[in-house]
Each structure stands twice: as structure tokens, then as C-alpha cells.
Symmetry: C2
Subunit: 199 residues, 2 copies
């Protein structure tokens, strides 16, 4: 049944139900692992579904970081080292990627913990995920604090792209049908794409 | 062939090729139409692929607005009226939604121009897209100017959700397989999702 859920009804929803509903509302989201290290080289890997394109010249991507009310290693590491990587999640290792979500304090690097492999390029100091088919190296540019709830938008500039160039067509478009990346809805639903239309 | 494209190589790419490549890089993106009016009630509809979840309590969504170097009716209208709607793009009217992209100065409302229907609820002043199965009414909360390139992050708080509640499962998750929404890659490639895994 088509129904309007207004502000009062939204506030009255069960908290967990509301979290899942609001997390579902913007539809399909990108699925990426962000790789960092601290100053001592300890590696960290975390799952993000909020990476957005901010511009092509200079090449900029942004993502949302949750409030710093608990330790956020990705944030601390980016501020310490100035660099990070964005790595597409692929269909054959969703379970490993998902296991990187929501972890806070721990001894082991998420790489070792979930069974993904850190990989370094000559040109970039932050760790890539070897298993990822599309890897992006960035440096920190600026951050914006969302006053309404304490989340932070991190902006990074792309320094390096590491991928099979056969996946890029003559126009510059990446063929995600072949690249096998996945998309997330809500907190934990993973989908592959089937091309419907190119305009 | 796996290849590292560094900053120098990126800068040397043909401009149109680079725009398409960088727009492809973050993977699958949400596909939404944002509906607004000016103070006189003239309706505007524009396509955005950057809507992200910012928080659930209060319920916040954000999206990227391109630099204000040309008139941006969506931006001006949101600042004038304080409200906007986010409407999921669906598989059976992708062509109409895509025709709302990139239009600037024009006489007709995009609604009339592309053949989509404005619809108003009792609780919200901005126009929804009648044809959309998931409609969200928001008010403007804050904006953040990205210094690196002049883009703007608009933050809105959800006041109303209009949708068939049968599409929401007992946990609060929306079933996008049934809801028929689409996802965008690059500038103009539309995909439907096939569920791979729920964690």
C-alpha cells in the first residue's frame, strides 16, 4: 500500500528498523574498501558505501566518515599519513570485504583477519587490496564536518589508478559487467549489475 | 593489462576520456531525480548520481551539486524554498530521467519536457515524481563548499517517505529487486541489480 511516512511516524519507528530503512533509502551504493596505514605502517582496511565522484579536473572523490565518537582508524591514519586507497569490492570475495565493516579496536590488521592481501605500488604509500580489480590511490585534500550529526566528508585527490586497462572502453568508461564489481543496498545486501541501457 | 596510471598520465589523457574514466571510478552510483520549485511555484527536475546516506537519527541524506559557474536551478530553488524531493529512477522510464540531466536554461519545466508527472503530498511543499516508486521529501539543513573545485555538498533532513510499504521487509530493508530501481555507472550507463548475497 502506498503510504506517506511523516516525521512523527519516522521518529516513532523501532530504532533498528529505522536505521535499516534510512540506510536503504538512497538506493544502490558503491562498495569500496579503503586502505590506510598509521605512521608505523600498521595496515587498516574498512568498508565504505558512500564514495562519490566530486570532480574530474582535478580528479576528486569523497566519502562519508561516521562521527569520531569511537576511534576511527581510517580517519586517524589518513590524517597521520595524508594518503589512502579506494578498492572496488568484487563478487567472489564479498564475505571478506563485509567482514571489514564495523570493526573497531583489534590486534590484527583487517587484511590478515579477513584474508585479503595488502599490495603496494611504487607511486603510492597506502596499501591497495591485491584482490581488487580497480584500485585508486589518493591523497587527502580537505574535510567537512556535518554539523547536523557529526559525520565528516573526506575529500581526496586521485594520484594513481591501478587496473586492467582492457576494462576501459575507447570513451573512458569502465565496463562493470566484466569488472565484476558489486553494489550495496542498505547495510548488508550485495548485488551485481545487469546492463539495462546506455544513453 | 594491469597498469598504473599516475598523476602525470592522468593529466595527459584526452579531456572527455578523463571525464568518463573519473566518473566511472567509484563504481555503481544511486540514480535519483531531485524535484524543486522556485518561490513562484515553477517546477524543476534534475538527475543526480551522488545521493549518499549521512545518518539515520536525524535522518540525513546528502548530494553533490556542481559548481555554480552556470545557473543551477536545483540549488537556487532549494535555497529559496528550503525544501526538495529525492525520487528513485526506475527501469521503465530511464530515458525520461536521463533527459533531465544537463539541462540549464529553458522555458518548460523538465517534468513537462520529458513527460514525468509532478505530484504533491499534503505534508511537503516540493514536487515528487508521481512515476517514482520511492519518494523522499527533505528540508535543507546545511551546505559545504569543496574548496578544491567549487562543488557543493547539500545536506537535507528527511521529512517524509512516500512509497509502497509492501516493498519494506520486516527488518526495514527495501527490496530493490521488486522496487525496480536502477543504478548508474559513469555518465550514462544504467543497470538493474541482481541479488548476489545478503550478509
Amino acid at each position: 500500500m502506498i503510504k506517506s511516512t511523516d516525521k512523527t511516524a519516522l521518529e516513532a519507528l523501532d530504532k533498528r528498523y529505522r536505521i535499516r530503512l534510512i540506510n536503504s533509502l538512497n538506493g544502490y551504493k558503491s562498495a569500496n574498501l579503503i586502505g590506510t596505514t598509521d605512521q608505523s605502517g600498521n595496515e587498516n582496511l574498512a568498508l565504505f558505501s558512500s564514495v562519490i565522484h566530486l570532480g574530474s579536473d582535478p580528479p576528486l572523490l569523497g566519502f562519508k566518515m561516521r562521527p569520531l565518537t569511537v576511534p576511527r582508524h581510517t580517519y586517524e591514519n589518513i590524517k597521520e599519513t595524508g594518503v589512502f586507497t579506494i578498492n572496488h569490492v568484487h563478487q567472489d570475495w564479498i564475505t571478506k570485504a563485509h567482514a571489514c565493516a564495523g570493526k573497531q579496536a583489534k590486534e590484527l590488521s583487517e587484511f590478515k583477519d579477513v584474508g585479503l592481501t595488502p599490495e603496494y605500488s611504487q607511486g603510492h604509500k597506502a596499501p591497495y587490496v591485491k584482490e581488487s580489480m580497480i584500485k585508486i590511490g589518493l591523497h587527502f585534500v580537505e574535510e567537512h564536518f556535518i554539523k547536523a550529526n557529526g559525520t565528516i566528508i573526506i575529500v581526496g585527490q586521485i594520484d594513481e589508478i591501478v587496473m586492467d586497462t582492457d576494462l576501459i572502453d575507447e570513451n573512458g568508461d569502465i565496463d562493470f559487467g566484466t569488472a565484476g564489481g558489486v553494489t550495496i543496498t542498505g547495510l548488508n545486501h550485495y548485488w551485481r549489475g545487469v546492463k539495462v541501457l546506455s544513453k
